[in-house]
Symmetry: C2
């Protein structure tokens, strides 16, 4: 029986730089590295509290997911980090050189304010930041 | 401040079919759908308990991650579900028509037994199943 999502794996060209990003820039806890000889892979782990898988599909056949599916057929689309002060995090990450897909946040699922970091700022991973709305959802 | 990984998003060409996969085949809890008009996106959520981000990087410049990076430069590589009976889950999923990348599990990070489902069986997402070793790690 499947009992948990064990991990989400991200391929990175520079491990030290990526560890620094997830540790310092995104503020995750870091539990160390392990070389897996059998898989010829070096790994670094960041334990996370509860999260969700979100399936995303074009609404009425339109929009950004429709374009993604046309090109790729399907696949892992983005990670979303939750913020308790989205505007401050956007300023902080812009100062570190992160590029965003829009100037201002917009409204996403669960009525959250959301903004996306350009994948080229994160080794090809599209990263969303969101902040739950004041009505207490989430 | 970033306080959580809010979600992992997966783009899917057939939402009902994908909901059925994550609910029935992978046994996740399902909390419902939401249409996000502003993003022209239909979504479906599966809440998850704690997990990890795993950065993966070629060991000594070789192996499958090196090939992935050559092709894509970086990006979300796979999701891994933890099993409490890997052999039974492999049999169960093979019966449902899932194709695997190998006949038998091998040894991965944390000394787990691991096996990968072919991305073409999961809308382009590479999915690993693992089972912690008997020594109680994990």
């Amino acid at each position: 029986m499947i009992v948990a999502l064990d991990h989400i794996a991200i391929a990175v060209p520079d491990l030290d730089k990526a560890i620094k990003r997830f540790l310092e820039d995104f503020g995750l806890e870091y539990s160390g590295t392990e070389d897996v000889e059998s898989a010829k892979t070096s790994t670094a782990f960041f334990p996370l509290p509860e999260t969700s898988i979100e399936l995303v599909h074009p609404l009425n056949g339109e929009g950004p997911i429709a374009k993604y599916l046309e090109k790729k057929g399907g696949g892992m689309h983005h990670l979303c980090f939750r913020s308790d002060d989205l505007d401050a995090d956007v300023v902080r990450l812009k100062e570190k050189g992160y590029q965003f897909l829009s100037e201002e946040p917009s409204i996403g699922a669960h009525n959250c304010r959301v903004i996306f970091i350009h994948p080229k700022s994160c080794d090809g991973v599209l990263i969303e930041l969101n902040q739950p709305s004041e009505d207490g959802h989430h």
